[in-house]
Symmetry: C2
Subunit: 111 residues, 2 copies
DNA sequence: ATTTAATATCGTAATATTGCAATATTAAAA
DNA sequence: TTTTAATATTGCAATATTACGATATTAAAT
């Protein structure tokens, strides 16, 4: 098939999967790290920071934007990209909750 | 091309991407949530919990295991799967750090 | 020894992702 | 207005993912 059967899962499961997928590529991790390292959000040189062609970088940015991980504002003929705190927080909370539950379970004897 | 150019990125970027990719499917989110909901780790009924066929579930479990998100122990003719605290912690720490940095940046005026 | 139950693997079709060259778009600069 | 710079889109080839039927494996139960 190839397509995942999203309608069989909860909205929460689907949206977490979409967010995780957006992050699930080394280039997109690199983009996130670069956005964090830059002082201002106005950054027109992401392409030069990555070992990929301009169209490929543009595509990765689009995927991050579609998933809501980053926000983009037009600033003249450059574009200001910045991280979306809320989307990152959803992922952070999920893994935090998972971790807390694992620790509690392991306390009660497990693998 | 289709294959990502992993050799152009850092080990950290690649391993974070692998972990995120393992989680980046609603069925695998569902598996994680189910493993958390069960008291013991001995669980031989993951297939019945998911709206997917047995081979498909088995494949998803394999991917989670390959990425280190879950661990599997053979228990007779059933298999005991449980979450790997360390792998989840890597993801948790990453998103926590990103979040802290975003908050600090936004304080210093940004988007 | 045979059956049963649980899980894994193989093969394959449908679809998605990755990457880039070529080209388009857009707005500032000259 | 022409050029330049920055980013986006299109088209396409290579590869990866998702899903499942059929089949294999494995160990307990009969």
């Amino acid at each position: 098939m190839g397509a995942s059967k999203t309608d069989h899962f909860t909205d929460e499961q689907n949206s977490l999967a979409i967010l995780a997928k957006a992050v699930a590529h080394p280039a997109r991790i690199a983009i996130i790290q670069y956005l964090l390292s830059v002082e201002s959000c106005i950054c027109g040189d992401i392409v030069n920071e990555l070992p990929l062609s301009q169209p490929t970088v543009s595509q990765h940015l689009k995927e991050l934007k579609n998933a809501g991980i980053i926000k983009g504002n037009i600033e003249g003929n450059a574009i200001c990209y910045c991280l979306n705190e809320q989307a990152i927080d959803v992922l952070h909370q999920f893994f935090k909750d998972v971790l807390v539950k694992i620790v509690n379970k392991n306390k009660a004897s497990c693998c």
